[in-house]
């Protein structure tokens, strides 16, 4: 399959040409919100306010914000456990997300899912999945459902560079191509799966996405630090899904600044301090977008400060909201297991469902 040929100047691609200044500022604001939300979360995690794992998205913000910015009403999103960025990008509130991290009843999943399991089906956001690769058949299923219902939409299924080595991904690619399903697999290639570099985990010639060629699926690679490029290339995939009901594999180069999770204290052993610093200095998506907007005259330093401060404040307020929210009741442990039991339907009242 031919690699998609796209104009190198991504600011001038039609989908970016049509942007108004306020759209561009909104993208900046959304990236800042993700970053400040997660920095606040990190602080609270370190203070012992949450349990489990906390996988930070910081450094990858342009991927979620850029792709989600293209979504129409029948486009859907599903991702893995590094899910806070996508959640905020689709419009979930900081409050419900922070409260979920705190395990509070006001959280998006009522404190039941935690960091790895955010959901908001009302915003076409289907999680938040803890098992590596487990969301890839689900993304296929969203696409199948869309096609079945005759809706013009696509499923954006995000995954890591390590997740490409799960078998179910390939079974999904085959089905997607065989049945012409409108799914876009977005590999967020941050170059590491936990402590394992891309080279140590995956066999490939030039990139991971080219594996799609074996399934007759169109694929492309993308420089994730540039929001314009992310939008331009994701739009090609969405057009293909909407117009031809065909899948795409889009591999987006990106980088995470923190460890795999906050518990990954050794992340400076498998990669160098200089490498991390280089990404922060030269490839930071927020920094680059800011510079771009300053050059375009869309942004001023004062406006930037204002947006930065506003998202910082919003994040701090979400911490307070989470702190003040109640924890789930003991009874709630066995709620939300069965629909029929929760609703006390005839089915839910027939036979025993719980065994303590």
């Amino acid at each position: 399959m031919e690699q998609t040929v796209t104009a190198p100047d991504f600011a001038s691609s039609p989908i970016n040409q049509s942007l108004r200044p306020e759209d561009k500022l909104r993208f900046l604001r959304e990236m800042l919100r993700i970053r400040h939300f997660e920095q606040a979360a990190l602080k609270q995690y370190s203070a012992g306010k949450m349990g489990g794992f906390l996988h930070l998205y910081i450094g990858q913000e342009s991927v979620a914000v850029g792709t989600v910015s293209l979504m129409g009403s029948h486009d859907h999103v599903i991702t893995a456990y590094r899910d806070h960025g996508h959640a905020l990008a689709v419009g979930m509130s900081m409050n419900e997300c922070m409260a979920e991290l705190f395990g509070k009843v006001t959280g998006c999943s009522k404190g039941k899912g935690g960091s790895m399991h955010f959901f908001a089906p009302d915003k076409n956001y289907w999680g938040g999945h803890g098992i590596v690769g487990g969301q890839t058949p689900l993304g296929l299923g969203l696409a199948y459902g869309l096609k079945y219902k005759g809706l013009k939409g696509a499923a954006l299924c995000f995954m890591g560079d390590g997740a490409v080595n799960q078998g179910c991904f390939y079974e999904s690619l085959n089905l997607a191509s065989l049945w012409d399903l409108p799914v876009v697999y977005i590999i967020e290639n941050n170059q590491y799966s936990m402590g394992t570099s891309l080279e140590r985990s995956s066999a490939f010639r030039t990139c991971l996405a080219e594996r799609a060629a074996g399934f007759a699926i169109d694929w492309d690679t993308c420089n994730g630090e540039d929001l314009y490029e992310v939008r331009a290339k994701a739009q090609v995939a969405l057009d293909r899904a909407h117009g031809q009901s065909r899948p795409t594999v889009l591999e987006i180069e990106t980088y995470r600044y923190y460890g795999h999770s906050v518990a990954d204290a050794k992340h400076k052993i498998y990669r160098s301090e200089e490498e991390i610093e280089r990404y922060k200095q030269d490839h930071d998506p927020i920094r680059l977008w800011k510079a771009r907007l300053l050059t375009e005259g869309v942004l001023t330093e004062e406006k930037y400060e204002e947006l930065d401060q506003a998202s910082r404040t919003e994040a701090n307020e979400s911490v307070q909201f989470a702190e003040e929210s109640p924890i789930p009741s003991d009874e709630s442990i066995t709620e939300d297991v069965y629909f029929e039991v929760d609703r006390q339907t005839t089915a839910g009242r027939t036979g025993r469902h719980f065994f303590n």
Binding site: M50, G51, G52, F53, E100, G103, K104, S109, G111, K112, G113, G114, M116, H117, H129, G130, I131, V132, G133, G134, G162, A163, N165, Q166, G167, C168, S193, M194, G195, T196, R200, S201, S202, K266, Y270, I327, P328, D330, S332, I333, T334, V337, F354, F355, N356
Partner: protein, 324 residues
């Protein structure tokens, strides 16, 4: 005797068996260069090199299946699952291949593999990461299942598991990795299928496995101190093979049994034990057999609530008191 952690005990067992048998190889995600996600294999790659300790991609179905295939040829792979929860991805390999290859080949092929890793709730990692599949796997004739509760047991059982010629599912607990117990310097092995009486008593038998055995021990202390009840604690250690004699012995002595597990109740390990007691100790019992399991729902994330989902010593005490 040295006081060492559960994690170190496992590591010592691995190191000793690597040195003892050139067919022993450790495979799994992050086991080598990263020293293990939970540091069980720390230092082993440095010491024994790429051939004996090897990192795999995140491809459980493939690498677990690969270990099973290699074991058919006489290797003794010790496969690490970062979490037993991820075994679901490799279920076919474990159940159909490791479990049944010997049977279906009429005994021509055997499968001396160990699959090990943590299998526990209680760490707020949500439902997908908190599975306790010992009952499900013990349901497969052909597989063996072991759940050590202490460093001493972990080491002795792991060495036996590696030397065993059948597939052994070895289930650890992240909450125990950092806990310390006395472990002898000299070599020892603990046979699979032998329970351990961890506390003697006369009034009631608390029967448990894995971390629940430690919960039972704490409950026994409370029962003695606050209620003048003498509880005996039997730690199963091995689920399949199961030490039925030890279970019957303790119940015939105390005439009361409370079964504790961190697993979910439906067809849990303790359901099997209840059935055993019904069949073979009915006349010895002065009270119905009672069970305490995890609250029957997927693991809740909320840290302050999840602690209540698993059996606590006070839950055991309350259950025991209901018998008197």
């Amino acid at each position: 005797m040295a006081l060492i952690t559960y994690r170190e005990a496992l590591r010592h067992a691995l190191a000793e068996e690597i040195q003892r048998d050139e067919n022993v190889v450790i495979l799994g995600e992050e086991v080598a260069e990263y020293d293990g996600a939970y540091k069980v294999t720390e230092g082993l790659w440095k010491k024994f090199g790429d051939k004996r300790v090897c990192d795999t991609p995140i491809s459980e179905a493939a690498f677990i299946g690969m270990g099973i295939g290699a074991s058919m040829l006489g290797l003794r792979p010790v496969m690490e699952l970062m979490f037993w929860s991820f075994a679901t991805v490799a279920w076919d390999q474990i159940v159909n291949n490791a479990g049944f290859v010997r049977y279906m080949s009429g005994g021509l092929i055997n499968c001396p593999i160990v699959i090990r890793g943590p299998a526990n709730g209680g760490t707020n990692v949500g439902a997908t990461h908190s599975h306790t599949p010992e009952n499900m796997l013990a349901n497969i004739p052909g597989l063996k299942v072991v759940c050590p509760a202490t460093a001493y047991d972990a080491k002795g059982l792991l060495k036996s598991a590696i030397r065993d010629n059948d597939p052994v599912m070895f289930m650890e607990n992240t909450l125990l990795y950092g806990e310390k117990w006395e472990v002898p310097e000299e070599e020892y092995v603990i046979p699979l299928g032998v329970a351990d009486l961890k506390r003697e008593g006369t009034d009631v038998s608390l029967i448990a496995h894995g971390r629940a055995a430690l919960t039972a021990l704490k409950a026994a202390e409370l029962l003695a101190a606050e209620h003048d009840i003498s509880a005996e604690v039997l730690d199963l250690r091995s689920i399949r093979p199961l030490d039925e004699e030890a279970i019957l012995r303790t119940v015939r002595k105390t005439h009361r049994a409370v079964l504790i597990e961190e697993n979910k109740p439906f067809c849990g390990v303790d359901a099997q034990i209840s059935s055993l007691l019904m069949e073979k100790a009915f006349d010895d019992l002065d009270a119905p057999v009672l069970r305490i399991s995890a609250i029957d729902a997927p693991a809740i994330y909320s840290p302050k609530v999840e602690v209540k989902q698993l059996p606590r010593p006070t839950d055991v005490v309350a259950k025991v008191l209901s018998l008197f």
